[in-house]
């Protein structure tokens, strides 16, 4: 069961309130008329499907109904951060690789997850609801 931090409601809420909506940061081709079949196909059908760090869009469907992004590990299911639309992730496969090489132990979060951005104290605090 995920326990997800909504960056708009600023609260941890249960997975049941949310819906996953697939890969985050997808950009529609800017000039559709001059987009090749190859590019259209890639945009429509080809998604990242990594074993490991994945950036994905979720919607707080029975809460504030806003979309936001989650960085999550698809093997341990650990949620590493949540961040609003329009922002970029601070944790990526690349930063995790570096962290591992430097011997920093990544939390094995399993099912229970934290979620807020590590550097942002305000977001990390539980809000009583």
């Amino acid at each position: 069961m995920f326990y997800i931090y909504c960056p708009y409601c600023k609260e941890h809420r249960e997975e049941e309130e949310f819906h996953p909506r697939g890969q985050a940061h997808l950009l529609r081709p800017e000039d559709p008329e001059n987009t090749s079949d190859e590019e259209w196909g890639d945009y429509l059908f080809f998604r990242d499907n990594p074993r490991g760090i994945h950036h994905e869009m979720w919607v707080h469907s029975v809460g504030c109904r806003k979309f936001f992004n989650i960085t999550r590990n698809t093997v341990t299911y650990e949620i590493l951060e949540t961040y609003p639309m329009g922002e970029q992730p601070t944790i990526t496969a690349e930063t995790e690789r570096v962290r591992k090489e430097q011997g920093v132990q990544a939390a094995d979060g399993g099912w229970q997850t934290v979620g807020a951005r590590p550097e942002n104290k305000a977001l990390n605090e539980e809000t009583s609801s």
């Binding site: 069961m1 996953p20 059908f45 080809f46 998604r47 499907n49 074993r51 994905e56 299911y77």
Partner: protein, 416 residues
């Protein structure tokens, strides 16, 4: 290979069943094979079996990172049917259904194929229109589908609730009488034993970690037990197909999701058939051991964890109780998840790739068990000839750029 028979059973009874031959060897990898199959699930084993038996390619290895059939093959709910909408899909699944009918005899292994029929329920006017359209398309393709009324459903499956008290009353169903279930482990083991008997090396605990590719041609695979050479490599790795493809520099339009199933405590025989509902989103049948075999939809997020989330289990059981209120107090025994490779048009990929000699058979998602013999057969034919078999050809990966999709979301919603 020691053939199984009733007489053999009696004979071995005198020896207290201690002298049965092992079903397959456990060989050391050779340096080189004509064909390597990556993935020892049902589809990979079937491919190897037909390669050796029908297409005369006997120098074959199946490379499996775990044990045989330990992936989705051992985790699925075993429903076999062929009532898909489009001609291409109907041909593929019908080809498979034809092979199922003679499979136990062909393999000399009881796969317990039981044609007990499948009901796909409709609960809304739109459901019924879709069902009618699909049944008509099925009949044109020689699939024995028919539309049945709630009263007919009740005759087929007496414990189902067709009353108006239900939240989503049942308005009718499609009924494929020739559909049914089979024993998943037996399918993997039967193909494994058959392939081994024809000389195929089954290499278990052997994980492919990369491909040897030169000048755009595949030359073999790297594994944790050393390099193995082959100029033809077929990947049949279900949820891990994307990971393998990436090792070869190929991107597949697949997303890997957990799909769960659960079984109840064993009950006296209560269900006659398989009942599935896209609308209330669940399906149930009863195994020969007596447990209810229950499933539903995928967990919506990407995952490789081979487990699922609790909300999905809850929704699944709500759907079952909606259809069969009398099951509300049945206790569940076990629950598990598999990783399914879902494809944007809910149809598989059987295809060459930009790397010469490297083929993929994947994207079966939530519904590939039923296709095990057919998929193995046409994929073997394709690997042997170097040209995709006519039944497999429409399932090329090119369709995601040409737009020639084969949209089976209707026939493959919650129905696996």
């Amino acid at each position: 290979m020691q053939r199984y028979s009733g007489f053999g059973l009696v004979k071995h009874a005198f020896g207290h069943h201690e002298n049965w031959e092992r079903q397959w060897r456990n060989p050391e990898p050779k340096k080189q094979y004509d064909v390597i199959i990556v993935g020892g699930g049902g589809h990979g084993l079937a491919t190897a079996y037909y390669l050796a038996k029908e297409f005369g390619v006997k120098n074959v290895a199946v490379v499996e990172k775990g044990w045989l059939g330990g992936g989705n093959t051992a985790r699925n709910t075993t429903i076999v049917r062929s009532n898909y909408l489009w001609d291409e899909a109907a041909r593929l699944y019908n080809h498979s259904l034809d092979l199922w009918k003679g499979l136990s005899q062909d393999l000399n292994y009881n796969v317990m194929f039981s044609q007990r029929g499948v009901l796909n329920l409709g609960h809304t006017l739109q459901d019924m229109r879709d069902i009618q359209r699909r049944v008509n398309a099925n009949r044109l393709n020689g699939v024995d589908s028919e539309v049945v009324t709630p009263q007919q459903i009740k005759e087929i499956e007496p414990e189902i609730d067709i009353s108006n008290r239900a939240r989503y009353p049942i308005m009718g169903a499609s009924w494929q009488k020739s559909a049914g279930v089979a024993r998943h482990d037996a399918v993997a083991w039967g193909f494994a034993r058959g392939a081994d008997a024809h000389g195929v090396d089954l290499l278990q605990n052997t994980e492919v970690t990369g491909f040897k590719i030169r000048d755009g041609k595949v030359l073999g695979v790297h594994t944790n037990r050393g390099d193995i050479e082959a100029h033809t490599v077929g990947c049949v790795a279900a949820g891990n197909s994307g990971v393998l493809a990436e090792m070869a520099g190929i991107k597949l339009p697949l997303e890997s999701h957990p799909l769960q199933a659960l079984v109840s405590e064993p009950l006296k025989p209560i269900l006659n058939t398989v009942t599935m509902s896209n609308h209330v989103h669940g399906y149930v049948s009863q195994s020969d051991k007596g447990d209810l075999v229950i499933g539903a939809g995928i967990d919506g997020y990407l995952g490789y964890g081979q487990r699922g989330s609790y909300p999905t289990i809850e929704h699944t059981l709500q759907a079952i109780v909606e259809m069969f209120p009398m099951f509300s107090r049945v206790r569940m025994n076990r629950q598990w998840g598999g990783i399914v490779d879902t494809c944007p048009d809910a149809c598989p990929i059987l295809s060459k790739t930009k790397v010469k000699g490297l083929y993929f058979n994947c994207g079966w998602g939530t519904g590939g068990f039923k296709a095990t013999p057919g998929s193995g057969h046409v994929f073997a034919a394709s690997l042997a000839k170097g040209e995709m078999h006519p039944i497999a050809a429409p399932f090329s990966i090119d369709r995601f750029h040409t737009g020639a999709l084969i949209d089976e979301h209707g026939a493959a919603g919650v129905a696996h």
